[in-house]
Amino acid sequence: MSTKALESNFLLPIKREAKRWNQLYKIMTEPKPEIVPTPRECVWKKNKTTLWFHPAKEKKYETPIFLVYSLLNKVYILDIGEGSSVVGGLTERGYDVYLLEWGSPGLEDSHLTLDNYIIDYLENAVKRALRHSEAKDITMAGYCLGGTAAAILTSITNLPIKNLVLAAVPIDFSIGIVPDKWLEGLQKGQLSFDRFADAHETIPSEFLYLMFRMLSPVYGSPKINLITRAHDEKYVEKWRRMDKWTKDTASFAGAAFKQMFNDLYRDNKLLKGDLMIGGRKVDLKNIKCPLFVFSCSRDNLVLEQQSLPVMELVSSEDKTYKVYEGGHVSLALTGAFAGIMDPWLAAHSQEIHEVLT
């Protein structure tokens, strides 16, 4: 047996296995990785909510982007680290980015409803972003439930929203990934979370994590994937970040939790046009700005059919719908979200040289 064959048959696999188990040992013993955000400054803080400003590395567009993420998860999935950050990708492409971090509500925030989140926090944050940027308008981009909030705000606000981007957004809550009888039970009032929410006042993050886990109770694939590819350092790094984020769910205000289950899941008010937010009727027909909606083909949290109705409901003449290969968070986790948005945004944002000339 030659030395080459000896190396490839015995030494390399041994090295790989040593690396694999070494990495696994590190994951088990070392603390969770620290997420280093893209350079940013705090523009506004209210209660637990923070508005971050990520300046463009080389500003190309006059219209800034306002990113809203889901209320149920932490926002740093959109800025998970250099190389795979959505925010970083956008700033590199010449956009100023404003990122709204909802924060985790405490017991003192149990009374916060979706009205408060959308009007008092989101709308005010957009106002602040507009004031800070000195731009005449802004692009709203929402992911998951953040997209729902962005769509609701766009339909009721007078603020100058130039474009609306919705990614993996649930609009129709009558369908979902949970068993049909559960949905039916929710819609008929046989299953109610009201008392649960009242008792807890603010739903602890552990319960929300449990809720997500219940959607796919046997959830071994991430660990299996890790063990299988633990010798790949880059993969392990990404896996650790993803693992941290998955387990780091946010708590949720009881009032908003109740409102979400009753108004959205039970009565499907958003789709029907019966939803009232801050005394204003939410009618998606009021969305007239250019709209870009996309879904993920392997999304096991928000189905494509849940996003599609928005295309029919809005009044926008310029509207685009696309489906991309990936899971619910993979586009955010890999930073592909920025690459997907860029061509559409570039065509719909005001370039700086246009202003100068």
Binding site: Q190, P217, V218
Partner: protein, 246 residues
């Protein structure tokens, strides 16, 4: 070995695990997808919530007896700070509005000052112009006074002219009267003139006849003198004839 690939036990492990995961999840999905499970879950949720409520209530009660602050008390304090934060936000927005108002006012003021400066410079030039005009006006005033004097003179002249005109009118009326008078006198004069003329014509015709008689006499004398050779004698004759006729 010929392909250069080594056996990877993890690939198989992954495949089998994924298959198991999918199937187990499918099984659980089906097991829970029924009315009974939903009802049981709801009952469970209610029971859990009820016990939690009771626990919280008792916790609050005990804490109150023991005079220990609970998480709720801390939350209430936090609420106060949130309220303050909200008020601060409102104040900040009001300050912004004020700032915007002030900046727009300042802008307005700046524009006004610029306008004022413009007006002042304009006024300065206008004053200079006016000063020049005043001096010109003074000259004009003198001229005007002269003119006034002239006008006074003219008025006097006018008065004189008016008087003259009156006089002329008087003369005219006299003239008319005279004319009227003349008209009646002239016809008389004409007649007398005609008569005088007639008399004159008669005298002229008499004179004509006298001349014709004198001519005939002269002719006779000429014929007589033709007979006399000396011219001196004819002249004397003619002259004496003329002196005699006179």
């Amino acid at each position: 070995m010929a392909t250069g690939k080594t056996y990877d036990p993890f690939a198989g492990y992954k495949l089998v695990s994924e298959m198991w995961e999918k199937q187990l999840n499918g099984l659980l999905y089906k097991l829970t997808d029924n009315k009974e499970f939903v009802q049981t879950a709801n009952i469970g949720l209610d029971a859990y919530s009820r016990y939690l409520e009771r626990l919280r209530k008792n916790q609050e009660l005990i804490a109150a007896f023991m005079n220990i602050p609970t998480k709720k008390d801390v939350a209430n304090v936090a609420k106060l700070s949130i309220q303050v934060e909200e008020k601060m936000d409102i104040l900040e927005e009001q300050i912004w509005n004020l700032q915007e108002g002030l900046s727009s006012l300042n802008k307005g003021n700046l524009e006004m000052f610029q306008e004022t400066v413009k007006i002042v410079t304009q006024m300065k030039t206008e004053f200079q112009k006016m000063a020049r005009e005043v001096s010109e006006t003074k000259n004009m005033k003198a001229d005007l006074q002269e003119l006034r004097q002239g006008l006074v003179d003219m008025k006097i002249i006018q008065v004189n002219i008016q008087e003259l005109r009156k006089e002329i009118d008087g003369i005219k009326s006299i003239k008319v009267d005279i004319k009227q008078l003349n008209d009646s006198k002239e016809s008389n004069h004409f007649q007398s003139d005609i008569q005088e003329l007639k008399l004159g014509v008669a005298e002229i015709s008499n004179m004509k006849t006298d001349l014709a008689a004198m001519k005939s006499l002269i002719e006779k004398d000429k014929q007589k003198k033709k007979k006399e050779p000396e011219k001196e004698q004819d002249k004397e004759l003619v002259l004496t004839g003329v002196s005699k006729s006179k």
